[in-house]
Amino acid sequence: MSLFFYLFFGLIGLFLLLFAWSMRKTHRRGRAPADSDALQESGRGHVAHLPQIRQALGEADLEYLSQKAPGVLARRARKERRRVALDYLLAVREDFEGLLRLAKIIAVLSPEVAVVQEFERVRLAAKFTWRYELIRMQLRAGLAPLPRLDALSDFVSSMSVRMETAMKELGERAALAAELASSFNGGGRDVT
């Protein structure tokens, strides 16, 4: 059997998988492409709650516990810290997805889009998902040693500042987009 013979089967298999995945995704989503609440939420982000997260992930508390408290308690604290890190990672993803959603709505409602910007966003989303999954799996498997959680807290703190500044700048424009998104939800399927 030639390679091309199998290549056609492979291609069709790939097409079927992608088609089913995209159809399922569209079907499962259920709600309208965007809602103004989600857009406004994406402007704020989870990064605002980071001082508390940072404290939860701090090394000092854990060291103190390891020295003073029984082993069970230290293990439990370690587990809790891991859970906090996972929750926070999820929150970061939500922030990312919020921004992504806003960008998509703007693209859908724009009379002209730039190919470079659109592909750049696809690339960024793929890269983010890959990294996110890697870190999440490491945390879940307990492979990430506790000092790593400090790195995460540093990361979120610096991001908090950057995002807040960025969102302030975006402020009015995001509100405009949110307003238009609600009109996008309303329109589109009316019989004329």
Binding site: M1, F5, L7, F8, F9, L11, I12, L16, L18, F19, W21, S22, M23, K25, T26, A32, P33, A34, D95, F96, L99, A103, K104, I106, A107, V108, L109, S110, P111, E112, V113, Q117, E118, R121, L124, A125, F128, L134, I135, R148, A151, F155, M159, R162, M163, A166, E169, L170, R173, L176, A177, L180, S183, F184, G187, G188, R189, D190, V191, T192
Partner: protein, 262 residues
């Protein structure tokens, strides 16, 4: 073999009845106004059956003349299918001018690439040229429908249920045709009876899906959403992409820290 032939004849009859049924449904529900190119496709397939019947009766099933007529009409059917697919793509994304401009270019490029690929890997025998052409076009149709579905999913565009079923029917039929033609190319005419049978079964399944999708009258046009001013995209999108990049870099930096500590 004889059982296959009988079953195939029966299926052929069923497909003719279903084609007429779909045609009548399209007219009766006035859906030809909503999907004029899909209607044209159904009309071409409806006309193809009596033409083939007459040619087989006149010149015989194995004759060159019948073969030429069969493949010639098949060319028309595929061209009409291509137009129907274009109509479906436009129905899904056409109202969003910006992304439709991007998507239509991408879809055309995809179709072109797939056709070139199909032609490049085809067996270098002129006898197989028609079959390869048919396979290439079906593969291009499947690729385009897959891409448009990915696009709609990526941009969270809601696809009408009717359009979804029409697309699904066209997509599945094209996929099966590619597989079927590839096997036929490999095993030559010993596979021909089964090839005919699978093709008819797939077509009957698609016809049922389309009839179900078009059982009710569809809205002729859909209202366009209010578009943003042109400068909004230019001002906001690079900024948003920068934010996304910043989030990505931070996550990456965190991950690199992780990796070094290992």
């Amino acid at each position: 073999m004889a059982e296959i032939a009988t079953f195939e004849r029966m299926l052929w009859g069923v497909s003719v009845v279903l084609k007429w049924g779909l045609f009548v449904l399209l007219v009766f529900r006035k859906n030809y106004r909503t999907f004029p190119l899909f209607f044209t496709y159904v009309l071409v397939t409806v006309v193809q059956s009596p033409v083939l019947f007459v040619s087989y009766r006149t010149w015989g099933f194995q004759s060159v003349a019948s073969g030429n007529i069969a493949w010639g009409t098949q060319g028309l059917v595929i061209a009409a299918r291509g137009l129907a697919v274009a109509e479906i793509c436009r129905r899904i994304m056409g109202m969003y001018r910006g992304i439709w401009a991007l998507a239509s270019r991408l879809l055309l490029a995809t179709a072109g690439l797939v056709l070139v690929y199909s032609w490049a890997v085809a067996r270098p025998h002129w006898q197989a040229a028609v079959l390869n052409c048919d396979r290439g076009l079906e593969l291009a149709i499947a690729a385009v429908l897959m891409m448009v579905s990915l696009f709609a999913s990526h941009y969270e565009i809601e696809v009408e249920q009717t359009v979804r079923y029409l697309a699904l029917g066209l997509f599945l039929y094209s996929c099966l045709s590619v597989v079927n033609n590839t096997v036929l190319e490999k095993f030559s005419w010993s596979y021909a009876p089964a090839w005919n049978l699978f093709r008819t079964v797939a077509f009957v399944a698609s016809l049922l899906m389309w009839a179900w999708a078009l059982r009710e009258q569809q809205p002729e046009t859909v209202s366009e959403p209010t578009m943003l001013p042109e400068e909004t995209y230019r001002a906001l999108t690079p900024e948003l992409n920068l934010r996304l990049k910043a989030l990505n870099e931070q996550l990456g930096r965190f991950w690199h820290v992780e990796a070094k500590k290992h």
